[in-house]
C-alpha cells in the first residue's frame, strides 16, 4: 500500500512537473500576457541591501557592478552590512565606499555575527528607499538589473520581484557546470508558470526586490524565526517570498534583471549549500502544512500547488529512491535514468549556448555529472536535511574563519 502511495505521489509530481514545464514553454513563446507589464518611467527610490560575511574582495566587485547601474544615481543607495567577517571584507567595503562616489554607499557592521537574515534586517533599519533590493555580496549585477526590477512594481499588487541568477564560473569545474544547468532550467522554465499567476514560490536571495512597507511588516517575523527555540538564519529569501504571498501580494521573477553568482566549485561546498537550501525547503513545507487552510482559502491554486508540491518533491524522491533500491537494488544502473538526464542536460546545454552565451558549458562530461548529482541530491541531502533541521551552520563559510572571527571578537 505504502509503495503504491509513494509511486502515486511521484507520478503526480512528475505529471505536474511535465505540465509545468510544457506550460512554461507555451507561455514563454506564445502568451505575451504571461509577462508582467513593465513601466520604466516608474522610478522609485531604491535601497540596495548587501549583507556580507567573509567574501573578501568580491564585495568590492559587487559594489562596483552596482555603481554601474543604469538607474538615476540619486534614486538609489547601497547599504553594505558586514556580519562581522573574519577576513578583510569590511576593508573592501570601505574601499568601495571611498572609490565609487557616483553613488551613495553606506557601510555598516553588526555588533555580533547574526546570520544573513538578521543582517538584512539591520541594513533595513539604515535604509530609506521605497523599494528594497537585497543582494548577495558575491554577485555581479547587470547595469539594467535595478531598472528592470523597479519597472515591475508599477503593478500595485506586486510585492516582490526577483531577477535571474546566472553562474559566473560555469566552467570552473563539473560542479559549477551542473549548477549552470540547474539554475538555467529553474529560471527559464520552472518559474515561468508561477510568473503567470504572479505566484513565484521562491525568489532568489541573490537579487530580491520588495516593497519597503511590506518588508517592514515582515521584518519582525524574520527576526523571530526559530526552530524550537533555535534561531533560524537561513532561507530568508524563501520565507520572504512566502510571506509576500500570504500578505496578499504577487511575486514575480523578471528574467531580464540579471545577476551572476559565483557557484560553489567543489562537491563539499555544493553539498553544504544544497543542504542549507533543502532545510529551508523542508522548513517551508512544514510551515505550509501547518497553515494549509489559510493557504487554500487565500492563495491562488497554482501558488498552493507550488508551495506544497515543490518542497514535497525531494521528500517523495527520497522515498521513491529507497523503495526502488530495496525492491530493485540495481535500478540506478539501468540506462533509462541516465539517458533521460543526459537528454535533459544536453537540451539545456544547447539552450544555454544559444540564449546565454556567457554561461555556455564547455565540458560535455558535465552532463554525466548532472546525472550523478541528481542521485546524490535525492538520496543524501534530503535525509541529512531532515535530520539536521536544528543546524545553524551556513555551510559554505569555513568553520576556521568563523572560529577565527570568534577569537578576534573576544579579543
Amino acid at each position: 500500500m505504502a509503495p503504491a502511495l509513494i509511486w502515486l505521489i511521484l507520478i503526480l509530481c512528475l505529471l505536474i512537473s511535465v505540465i509545468k514545464y510544457t506550460l512554461a514553454l507555451i507561455l514563454k513563446w506564445s502568451v505575451p500576457g504571461a509577462k508582467i507589464k513593465k513601466d520604466y518611467t516608474y522610478q522609485p527610490t531604491v535601497s540596495v541591501l548587501m549583507p556580507c560575511y567573509n567574501e573578501g574582495k568580491t564585495v568590492y566587485e559587487t559594489i562596483e557592478s552596482i555603481s554601474q547601474s543604469d538607474y538615476p544615481n540619486d534614486r538609489f543607495e547601497v547599504i553594505a552590512q558586514d556580519d562581522c567577517s573574519a577576513d578583510d571584507s569590511y576593508l573592501w567595503m570601505l574601499k568601495a565606499q571611498r572609490e565609487f562616489t557616483n553613488i551613495k554607499v553606506r557601510v555598516e557592521r553588526n555588533n555580533e555575527n547574526s546570520g544573513k537574515a538578521r543582517t538584512v534586517c539591520n541594513a533595513l533599519q539604515q535604509s530609506t528607499g521605497e523599494i528594497i533590493i537585497s543582494i548577495d555580496s558575491d554577485c555581479i549585477f547587470h547595469p539594467d538589473a535595478i531598472r528592470e526590477l523597479t519597472a515591475c512594481f508599477s503593478e500595485p499588487k506586486i510585492g516582490s520581484v526577483g531577477g535571474r541568477v546566472g553562474i559566473r564560473n560555469p566552467n570552473a569545474s563539473t560542479i559549477t557546470a551542473i549548477q549552470t544547468f540547474v539554475y538555467y532550467a529553474a529560471f527559464q522554465l520552472y518559474k515561468v508558470p508561477e510568473n503567470w499567476t504572479r505566484s513565484v514560490g521562491c525568489i532568489s536571495g541573490c537579487l530580491f526586490a520588495i516593497r519597503r512597507e511590506l518588508l517592514l511588516q515582515i521584518e519582525p517575523r524574520i527576526r523571530s524565526r526559530h526552530w524550537f527555540g533555535i534561531p533560524v538564519n537561513q532561507g530568508e529569501d524563501r520565507f520572504l517570498t512566502h510571506q509576500t504571498l500570504l500578505h496578499g501580494y504577487g511575486t514575480y521573477v523578471n528574467n531580464d534583471a540579471l545577476c551572476w553568482t559565483t557557484a560553489p566549485a567543489t562537491l563539499n561546498e555544493l553539498f553544504k549549500q544544497q543542504l542549507r537550501w533543502r532545510r529551508s525547503v523542508i522548513r517551508d513545507l512544514f510551515f505550509t502544512l501547518r497553515t494549509l487552510p489559510q493557504h487554500v482559502w487565500k492563495l491562488h491554486p497554482n501558488t498552493v500547488v507550488t508551495l506544497v508540491l515543490t518542497p514535497l518533491a525531494p521528500l517523495v524522491a527520497l522515498l521513491v529512491l529507497f523503495t526502488a533500491l530495496s525492491s530493485d537494488p540495481m535500478a540506478w544502473a539501468g540506462p533509462a535514468p541516465l539517458l533521460m538526464y543526459l537528454g535533459i542536460a544536453a537540451a539545456l546545454g544547447l539552450a544555454i549556448k544559444k540564449y546565454s552565451v556567457r554561461e555556455t558549458v564547455n565540458h560535455p562530461l558535465a552532463f554525466g555529472g548532472y546525472v550523478a548529482w541528481s542521485l546524490v541530491s535525492s538520496l543524501f541531502i534530503t535525509t541529512l536535511a531532515l535530520c539536521t533541521m536544528d543546524s545553524r551552520d551556513w555551510g559554505t563559510r569555513g568553520k576556521k574563519r568563523e572560529a577565527s572571527h570568534a577569537d578576534s571578537s573576544s579579543q
Partner: protein, 359 residues
C-alpha cells in the same frame, strides 16, 4: 487575585516552561536525527557491502520452494499427462497399422497366387485356339462343300416332290405313300437347313478361335486390375510400414522425454511423498556444486553460518531466476537438497560447499 495579576503569572510560567519544552524537543529530535543518520549510514554501507559480496561470491544458491500447485508444476503435469496420452494413442495406432499391414500382405499374397492361374488359363486357351482354329477352318470348308452338294440334291428333291403329286394324281401311288415320300423330302430339307446353320456356327466359332474377342478382353482387363490392385497394396503396405517406423521412433522419443521429465524436480514434487527442497544455483557458482556438498545457512545472508544439509542431486535443465539481491534475471540450474533444518528452505540464500567467511 486580580485578573491582570493572574495572566501575568501565567505568562511568566509560559515563558519559563516554553524553553524547557523546546530544549526537550530539540534534544529528542537530535537523538532521533543522529540515530537516523547512523542508520542511514549503516544502510548505505551494508548496501555497498552486500552488493560487493554477492558480486564476487561464487558459492551462494537461492532456496526455491516448489509446490504442486505452482504454475511450472501444473504446466509440467499437464505436459506429462499429454505426453503419456499421446504415447498411448501412438501405441494403439501402431498396432492398428501393423494389423492393417498384415491383412494387406495376406490379401496381396492371395492376389499374387491368383495371377499365375489366370495367366495359365489364358495361355491354355490361346494354345487350344491356335490348334482348334485351323482344324475348324478345314472342317468348315468341307462343310461348305457338303452343303453345296446337298443344295444340288435339294433341287432334285423339288422335282421329286412334283413327281409325287403327279404319281398320286395318276394313281400310281397311294396317298399314304405320297405322305411318306413327302415327309422324307421334308426331312432332307430340314437336314439341309441344319447343315447351313452349323456351317454359320462353325464360321463364327473359327472367328472366335482366330481373333481376340470381347471375352478375352474381359479376362485381360481382370488381369490388369489384379496387377493394379497388387501394386496399390504394395504402396499401401510401404506407407503403413513407414508410418509404423515413424510412430515407433516417436514412441521411443516420447518414452525418453517422459523418462527425462521424471528426473526433473517437478516430477519429484508432483509424485508426492515426503517434502523435497531445492535451490537455484547460477552458472557462475557451478563450481561449488556436487552431490554430497554441504549446505550452509547464514545469518544476514552471509555470517555465522551453520551446516543445514547436503546437496542430493543436480538437475540438468536450465532455469531462470531473479537474483535474490540484485533483482536481475539470472540463468542457472536447480539442485535438490537434503535439509536437516527445513526452515532453511525459506532463507533468502544458502551457501554450498563452503562458508563465505569461514565462520
Amino acid at each position: 487575585m486580580p485578573t491582570a495579576a493572574v495572566s501575568k503569572v501565567e505568562s511568566k510560567k509560559t515563558v519559563q516552561i516554553q524553553p524547557m519544552i523546546y530544549r526537550s524537543v530539540v534534544t529528542l529530535y537530535r537523538i532521533i536525527g543522529i540515530a537516523t543518520l547512523y542508520l542511514v549510514l549503516a544502510g548505505i554501507l551494508s548496501y555497498a557491502f552486500v552488493m560487493g559480496f554477492y558480486a564476487v561470491n561464487t558459492s551462494w544458491a537461492a532456496p526455491v520452494i516448489l509446490a504442486p500447485s505452482d504454475d511450472k508444476s501444473l504446466d509440467f503435469m499437464q505436459k506429462i499427462v499429454t505426453s503419456k496420452q499421446t504415447l498411448e494413442d501412438l501405441k494403439v495406432d501402431e498396432k492398428r497399422l501393423e494389423s492393417s499391414i498384415s491383412e494387406m500382405i495376406g490379401h496381396r499374397t492371395s492376389l499374387l497366387n491368383l495371377e499365375p492361374e489366370l495367366q495359365d488359363a489364358i495361355v491354355r486357351e490361346r494354345t487350344h485356339n491356335r490348334a482348334a482354329g485351323p482344324q475348324l477352318s478345314q472342317l468348315d470348308q468341307q462343310k461348305q462343300a457338303d452343303n453345296l452338294k446337298t443344295q444340288t440334291i435339294m433341287a432334285q428333291v423339288k422335282q421329286v416332290e412334283s413327281s409325287i403329286d403327279r404319281d398320286l394324281a395318276a394313281g400310281l401311288i397311294t396317298k399314304g405313300d405320297a405322305a411318306t415320300q413327302r415327309a422324307a423330302l421334308n426331312q432332307a430339307q430340314t437336314s439341309y437347313t441344319d447343315s447351313k446353320i452349323n456351317e454359320v456356327l462353325l464360321t463364327d466359332n473359327i472367328l472366335e478361335k482366330n481373333t481376340t474377342d470381347t471375352k478375352s478382353l474381359d479376362v485381360l482387363n481382370k488381369q490388369a486390375e489384379l496387377k493394379s490392385e497388387i501394386a496399390q497394396l504394395d504402396i499401401a503396405i510401404n506407407v503403413a510400414q513407414e508410418q509404423v517406423r515413424e510412430e515407433s521412433q516417436q514412441i521411443d522419443r516420447l518414452r525418453k522425454a517422459i523418462a527425462t521429465a521424471k528426473q526433473t524436480p517437478y516430477e519429484l514434487i508432483t509424485s508426492g511423498g515426503k517434502p523435497v527442497y531445492f535451490a537455484f544455483v547460477p552458472y557462475d557458482n557451478q563450481g561449488s556444486v556436487a552431490a554430497g556438498a554441504a549446505v550452509y545457512d547464514c545469518y544476514l545472508n552471509m555470517v555465522a553460518c551453520r551446516k543445514v544439509g547436503t546437496v542430493k542431486q543436480t538437475f540438468a535443465g536450465e532455469e531462470h531466476a531473479i537474483h535474490p539481491i540484485f533483482r536481475t534475471d539470472v540463468r542457472g540450474f536447480l539442485v535438490q537438497m537434503e535439509l536437516d533444518r527445513p526452515e532453511s528452505a525459506k532463507s533468502k540464500t544458502v551457501f554450498l560447499n563452503r562458508k563465505p567467511f569461514f565462520f
